[in-house]
Symmetry: C2
Subunit: 474 residues, 2 copies
């Protein structure tokens, strides 16, 4: 494995500020100053509850020695024994594994010959689309595949359905010893998966009680798939710890996650910036954007009561990819409503360099490209976009990863988690629950004919919906 450089990631918020982009939409430094006390209190509140309640994820960078050893041991055995490793999970059980694999391994991992990978192909199956399930089964050899069933609650309908389908197939295909093809990652006590695992004798990893799904990437949820794909999970945790060390201050000018939370708070509450675009300028980081979108949306999208009034909070995170989406979204970002913050993820040094050959010297428009590198072109386009937004008085910020490696990815994950926790405090909401998804779940179980009382009641209620109007369907 390459020697991983350990450099800090950097948050540059100049283009959020009024002294740079102008005071019509920029944030004034005095507004940040007005938030200093609230910020300090938010930081103190989060720090005070470290490791308790739903803040168990703050302990993950530390004290996992025994777990790490077991993860690495199991991963080594999976690497030796299987051709494919399939994560069955959804939401927080899938987005992290996908993001970390894309960030840290070859971008066409599954297309590489086995000897170049040195480990199994990775599939993360985070949907129940029947065509997708069939497609997967068309291309894997189930008798050479290990399945990692991940559900915190142990009762996620999608994941448990996948489990039922796969375990049935394994019994039929592999027969005796089929249990060796399944690794379960779940809560220490709650749910069905833990009981099944104990009964069947599955290899078993735990998600601590005090860590919610979307904060679970640094538990075995994320660490096992990463280790199976040869990623240095210890360096990830080291990176997280390094970011944690930068979050010990209550001074916004010294704590990057706190500064981020304060600026987004102001953007949301005082600038009507109800959209945050996260735009990595690197294919390796494109699924980090998805991971962030869950974290930010589920944590902060909340209905609360303030002074007796119902208030609906939250900022819609949406992802774009640089430079690609300059050709699909930038028109909107520069000329559309002043309703968004653009968060760039920038890579200091890519792991490859590709030179653009000469050969268009006769064509004035493109002659200058010959001899440059793709790296230079990409960097220039990021500069250009940032500048165009600046000229249009739009808010943007840039998070720079000096390199993309396990250490910087660990920092980035922990940075966003802390920023989310601080933002929750500033907004005075519970950032760690998701009450708004219950209604949909109950209604769908009712549709499926679950006979428990609450679903039967819901099914009756659903029949009372107004008749749909025919002419509203074309």
């Amino acid at each position: 494995m390459d020697k991983i450089q350990r450099e800090p990631i950097m948050l540059d918020v100049n283009h959020m500020m009024s002294d740079i982009i102008g005071f019509q939409y920029g944030i004034d430094v005095s507004e940040v100053m007005n938030m200093m006390d609230a910020a300090q209190a938010a930081q103190a509140a989060v720090e005070k509850h470290r490791g308790t309640g739903w803040l168990g994820w703050m302990d993950l960078p530390y004290n996992q020695a025994a777990i790490l050893e077991r993860i690495e041991k199991v991963a080594a055995s999976v690497r030796k024994e299987f051709d494919a490793f399939v994560v069955l999970g959804i939401g927080g059980s899938a987005l992290g594994p996908i993001a970390v694999q894309q960030a840290l391994n070859h971008q066409r991992w599954n297309d590489l010959p086995a000897e170049k990978r040195g480990g199994p192909k990775l599939y993360v199956e985070d949907n129940i689309d029947p065509e997708r399930m069939t497609s997967l089964l068309d291309v894997i050899d189930i008798s050479r595949t290990c399945f990692n069933v991940i559900t915190k609650s142990g009762a996620t309908a999608e994941t448990m359905s996948q489990y039922l389908i796969i375990s049935d197939l394994l019994k039929k295909t592999v027969g005796e010893g089929w249990q060796k093809h399944i690794i379960a990652t779940t809560d220490t006590a709650k749910g069905n998966l833990i009981q099944l695992s104990l009964k069947e004798g599955f290899e078993l990893f735990y998600i601590p009680d005090s860590v919610g799904g979307r904060f679970s990437e640094l538990t075995p949820v994320g660490l096992l798939p990463a280790a199976v794909c040869g990623i240095d999970i210890r360096a990830m945790l080291e990176g997280a710890a390094a970011m944690d060390a930068r979050c010990k201050s209550g001074d916004v000018w010294k704590n990057p996650a706190l500064l981020e939370a304060v600026l987004q708070y102001i953007a949301m509450e005082d600038r009507h910036a109800n959209v945050q675009v996260i735009m990595p300028y690197a294919d390796s980081l494109k699924y980090m954007a998805d991971w962030f979108c869950q974290l930010w949306a589920e944590s902060l999208g909340k209905n609360v009561t303030r002074k007796g009034m119902a208030v609906n909070l939250g900022q819609t995170p949406t992802k774009a990819l640089g430079v690609t989406d300059q050709h699909s979204q930038l028109q909107l970002y520069t000329e559309g409503p002043y309703d968004k913050v653009i968060t760039f993820l920038k890579v200091g040094a890519f792991r490859d360099e590709v030179t653009i050959a000469h050969g268009c010297e006769d064509f004035k428009d493109v002659a200058f490209l010959g001899g440059k590198t793709l790296n230079q072109l990409l960097d220039a386009e990021l500069h250009g976009t940032e500048y165009a937004l600046y000229r249009a008085g739009r808010m943007s910020q840039t998070i720079t990863l000096p390199q993309v490696n396990a250490y910087t990815i660990g920092q980035l994950i922990y940075f966003f988690e802390m920023a989310t926790a601080y933002a929750g405090e500033l907004l005075d909401i519970d950032a760690f629950n998701q009450p708004g998804v219950e209604e949909s779940k109950i209604a769908s179980y009712a549709v499926l004919g679950n006979t428990s009382a609450k679903y039967v009641k819901k099914a009756a209620e659903m029949k009372g919906r107004p008749n749909l109007v025919k002419r509203y369907m074309l």
Copy 2:
């Protein structure tokens, strides 16, 4: 090839309307009535200019007989002679080919054995990330690969850079006859690519003058890659024509694209719904969402002057995937700000059915899943989500494709294109330009040291930017 069923797609907007979801956020039918004249005028204006100006795409369902024949001939030869087909393009030259391939072919096309595919692997390279380029070159055999270079302007820096890299490699690897590995798709007269193609003798397809990049999927831009992957491109065009026939009426209650445009206009202008979430409940349709996001964002995100005032229009499209993103975004959609419309894409009948095995009968939470199908579970979850949004008084709408096939995808593409054109008319903007991306392009060329006068001038201007404040970087 299977017999493709020819059924109409359906737009259901009941959950947009106040008589269903309540009048606090729902749209009142009287509001639609007030728009009847404007809608009729918009429809007439679009129809009047059919085929002219930037409305050349309205002719694409018709009169392409000679082109189709040539596409099919070239595609047949590519299928015979190459192992991989790589699209080099970005924005409108990439999103359509990606979306149609994902919709209509096996979801793990490239992983299938060659004999099951009956054609080459498909790669669409729509970024200039150097790691991505290296990754691609690691897994393809360039001497067995055909490259389709697509740029309408013929001067897109990203695509021309890719062309320079690849043509150089082909010359070195293949030597004589390297030109047979390149197919160009570009403007009939403008730009560098047409000149290069004529000089080198590349196989050449044209994008009509009157068709902009984001409206070009039904030109050779989209049709050639689709045909290479065995897709029935004639059925796609038939579907587009069928939708066109439904767009001949100026009555919103008879023209689905017009109804869609009117409702989104009201949502944007009168309901502060500055976000539209497009949420297919099918993995096959997930990149149709990306294609739509470009169309909607670039076409409607515009800065215009109204009564002497600068106004910034547009709705930020963002994509989600059902059921997956119920576990990452639904919390925000049900409890967050009332600022969005959710557009579901629903599949009537999937091409596969997967039964969930029994085996969890002891567990009350999940026992009811055994014996159901993934299809039923997915459908129930869509119902549940729609119902939860309805209960929360949120606007949603559902576009149903009876099956996902070339005919319904053709309809869907044309539906969104027409809705976009109508919405542009209603907003009184030019939906077919993208002036807002110039600034970024010029600035990036300036950074790269292009010596033409306008770039030199821009470079000087960029130096005048305020000094970045150190403490705004952590």
